[in-house]
Symmetry: C2
Subunit: 418 residues, 2 copies
């Protein structure tokens, strides 16, 4: 079987499994999640042995320490995976929810019913826990999944896949509802991205290179996020304490996350007052500061920010700072450089807060809150498959609901159209 | 300027206009729609003169009578266009709606705000009224639009575009919020389909050839519907009167629409009773019947349905009829041949009705109602830009809401993440 035939046969199996998954009951799906969790715990030794193969292959390929750490499956991490599955089991089932049911003048009742998307393809890198996590989200939302992990985690992923299959079958669900590709052939990804007949949506999770490839090659719809170039704008009517707290938190609470602030915009009227206070805290935390000329006049301990800085997601203890004349200038900078992930304003001014909230076109827009809150758990989605910076279908953190769609339902009593 | 440069400059203007449209007030948008309506009526003579150029070009190109009729702009049709704009003005504004606002354990308030998509590209054929209609839907939903009509209607479309521009500018809105392409170069469409930076979604409206081309070439998300192969399944526990009324209405109320039934599935247990009654009515209405062997045994006045028939959207007074053993067989036929547009069951059986509603994976699923109800107006959307048979973003009739997205909003008081 060549790669195309292989992928088509996987696609057909996924399509068939999706029909079964769509009508699986909530209890059945939750019990399957619980069974998978138990299997992962029972198979801890097997998982570690498989992981050991990946780790030693990684070492001999010269992977760096950070990558090897991400790849490692310890008993603690396996327990955390199992706990993640149980948390997903405890979330409300989105499937079958009926909303907006109303009676029309013709006499028919019209409403919307939430339904699974069908088959979801997920392409990801490194961390093997994504295999369990992504499988669980697809399962709970009544979808079938085709998962393609990184080749460096192939043995770990296959061992986890085996636990998923055992759990599914223990509840009478098809093992093919979650298929983890065994081939490491890159052509398999190319095929997956083009199988419109078998795949309803692709979710890439990983570095920018992966996401750009998927986005450019896919003929199937994609839920993705490319960059997280998030901004905080401190207005001249900001509360100083709130502004310092939020701007500090948004940068330093974690450096490597997509909702971390990368550029701080400060209104000219407050810059001389607030920048020295903020700079002191950032420098204590060893954050490198890169500023515009005005910012550097106020805080000389900054290097000069270049055009490239405004367009960079550092994912590191580096912050670019720009002094702007007012909120309109801030919004204009955001329009130009933002990746439409998350932006926040700090202000006590009612009208400006409302304008910022209405006019900034990002997946999350915040008033007086840290950009670090842009996260499925913090928003109450319970779990997230990713954060979308697209506008179609799902925007911002994508939870179970983002893996579903709504169909119209019409209830009648022999109604005909006149 | 070559086509690529031209399209990029149109894209940049649309992007800029979208920023203004997104913050336009409901009153401003409604008054612009009213101004466009008035301008269309005032320019009736100009519109007819432009239309005359298209009609005579069409005649000399040998367009058939049906196409020429669709192309014609009469004073009645111009008045209907103006009335359509006023109806869209009277619909609720979807933009700015805030839902699901709740307070999280962290103290932040999280909700969703409905926002325009940005720039919408619409590619359509023949009927010039689509120019006004599509422009109005985009305008009301706070979007900018790039419209590309058929070359056979170029003069009519440009005359309508002029009215749209006058109306927009009269309310201080940018004329570039609705750009109707003046070029008939096919390469312009190719460019439009690839301009990810400037276009958020493409909506093709027209024949299957157009939609397939758009779907295959687009790198921008597409809201489309390809086929309307709709089914009615008459269960053996159906009420006979309701079954006859609905099955007759679903086929004969209009033949050329996408929500017209193309295949009738009848349970074996009721076929001998109901098929003769139904056939009599269909044959009176001069509907050609094509049946499976079992159906033909009951009603010999049918030709034999081929494999191709089950997969054909006739859009004509032709109906294929299949006798199936039970609802599961009907659902299996639907899974195989349906275009996932609209399917209906006729039954008095509670459990079967619920199963059909849950398990059939189409954009509209109906119980005891005619498929002809699958329509934006009948569903109370007020207007529709099309009917989507995709699952991502919008499914079924797409109204103003389908031209919007939701962003997350977070309201805090200096909240930081711990």
């Amino acid at each position: 079987m060549n790669v195309q035939e292989l992928m088509h046969s996987i696609g057909i199996q996924a399509r068939d499994a999706a029909v079964v998954m769509a009508r699986a009951s909530t209890v059945q799906k939750n019990q399957a999640l619980e069974a998978i969790a138990e299997q992962l715990l029972a198979d801890t030794a097997t998982l570690q042995a498989a992981n050991e193969k990946d780790l030693s292959a990684g070492k001999s390929r010269g992977l760096d320490a950070a990558l090897l750490d991400r790849l490692a499956l310890t008993p603690t991490r396996i327990a955390a995976m199992a706990e993640g599955l149980r948390q997903i089991a405890s979330l409300p089932d989105p499937v079958g929810e009926i909303t907006d049911l109303c009676t029309r003048p013709s006499g028919i009742q019209v409403g919307k019913m939430r339904v699974p998307l069908g088959v979801i393809g997920i392409i990801y890198e490194s961390r093997p826990n994504v295999t369990a996590d992504a499988a669980a989200l697809c399962l709970k939302s009544g979808n079938a999944a085709i998962l393609r992990g990184g080749s460096e985690a192939i043995h770990s992923n296959q061992a986890i896949a085996q636990c998923v299959r055992v759990g599914l079958e223990s509840q009478g669900l098809p093992a093919t509802a979650v298929q983890v590709l065994e081939t490491t052939d890159r052509a398999a990804v190319g095929e997956l991205l083009k199988m419109k007949a078998f795949v309803d949506v692709i979710v890439p999770r990983g570095g920018k290179g992966l996401i750009e490839r998927v986005s450019n090659e896919a003929r199937v719809p994609v839920i993705k996020h490319l960059d997280g170039i998030c901004h905080v704008y401190i207005d001249d009517q900001a509360d100083m304490d709130k502004a310092v707290a939020v701007a500090y938190n948004a940068k330093t609470q974690r450096y490597g996350t997509c909702n971390t602030m990368e550029t701080l915009l400060v209104a000219e009227g407050i810059a001389a007052q607030i920048l020295p206070m903020l700079a002191e805290r950032y420098l204590q935390a060893e954050v490198e500061l890169r500023g515009c000329d005005k910012a550097r006049t106020i805080v000389p301990a900054m290097t000069t920010a270049t055009e490239e800085d405004w367009a960079t997601e550092y994912l590191a203890p580096i912050l670019s700072i720009k002094v702007v004349s007012d909120m309109d200038a801030a919004m204009s900078h955001i329009r130009h450089y933002s990746s439409q992930h998350t932006e926040a304003i700090i202000t006590e001014n009612w009208t400006r807060a409302r304008r910022f909230l209405n006019e900034v076109d990002s997946s999350s827009v915040m008033i007086n809150a840290s950009t670090r809150f842009a996260d499925g758990f913090e928003y109450g989605l319970g779990a997230e498959i990713g954060i979308s910076t697209d506008k179609i279908h799902a925007r911002g953190p994508v939870g179970l609901e983002g893996l579903t769609s709504q169909k119209f339902i019409v209830l009648g009593d022999g109604h005909i159209r006149l």
